[in-house]
């Protein structure tokens, strides 16, 4: 069941980016968020699931539809950027390798006591620091690039 829901979520995510028209893309996005909320509820995280459904399908998407309806915009043509595919491939492979490098968690189905949870997070501190560094560098590069474009125009 969980595999089915997650597979539909990923398909809907791809569909929402691949759709040419605005409204079907937004509707795919709504359904994806709603299914994720249902999945959280099935995982006994009821509050998180309800938050997900209320905030995303009830708030964000209605706001987006409102904006789209006001301006009546259509999506521009798709631009092929091959470096984007390579970046995504590297990131996905990197994330998939990380679980094999991590030490096995002290588990067995039992919940970890709250006082030990800090230790688990601090064990991964280096990885989190590297990840945050990459994110910060990307944001910095994007900001500088945007400022440059706004000041001097596109090259």
């Amino acid at each position: 069941m969980s595999v089915l829901i997650l597979a539909i979520v990923i398909i809907l995510a791809i569909m929402s980016l691949a759709q040419k028209n605005t409204v079907p893309a937004v509707l795919s996005f709504v359904l994806m968020m709603f299914l994720l909320g249902i999945y959280y509820i099935l995982m006994d995280e009821k509050l998180l699931g309800l938050f997900q459904i209320f905030v995303y399908t009830g708030g964000i998407v209605v706001l987006t539809l409102f904006g789209v309806t006001i301006i009546g915009a259509k999506f521009p043509k798709f631009e092929i950027r091959p470096w984007a595919v390579s970046i995504v491939t590297i990131v996905i492979i990197g994330f998939l390798i990380v679980p094999f490098l991590l030490p096995s968690m002290p588990l067995g189905g039992k919940p970890i006591p709250l006082k030990d949870q800090v230790k688990i997070f601090t064990d991964f501190y280096a990885e989190i620091a590297v990840f945050m560094g990459v994110v910060a560098a990307s944001v910095l590069y994007g900001s500088i690039r945007m400022l440059h474009t706004l000041k001097y125009g596109k090259e």
Binding site: V9, E45, L48, F51, Q52, W83, V91, P111, L114
Partner: protein
């Protein structure tokens, strides 16, 4: 444990789809959707860790991420409408034209 790996792989794929959208799409709406996908991949991973490992502290971070996503959505739609008024399009790359014209 297997359930967590299924969730983790789904979250990584969702993150990859979002990252691809952020880096390759050229209109505001799809970039906005892609950013939401990135945030949702993180929330999915945190919720899965809370369910399978009892890491309930992650849920607090998940709620914070949802609040940030809401703020980001409000700001994003504002920029989206403003850019459309300035340029008549929804393409961020064309914002510099509007700035230069003014």
């Amino acid at each position: 444990m297997v359930g967590f790996y299924i969730d983790a792989i789904a979250a990584i794929i969702l993150f990859g789809v979002g990252l691809y959208g952020v880096t390759s799409k050229s209109d505001f709406l799809k970039i906005f959707f892609s950013l939401e996908m990135l945030l949702n991949a993180v929330i999915l991973l945190l919720a899965s860790a809370a369910y399978h490992f009892g890491l309930t502290r992650g849920l607090a971070i998940a709620y914070v991420v949802i609040v940030i996503a809401t703020l980001e959505a409000a700001a994003g739609v504002l920029i989206f409408i403003l850019a459309n008024r300035m340029t008549g399009e929804v393409i961020p790359d064309h914002l510099d034209k509007a700035v230069n014209d003014e």
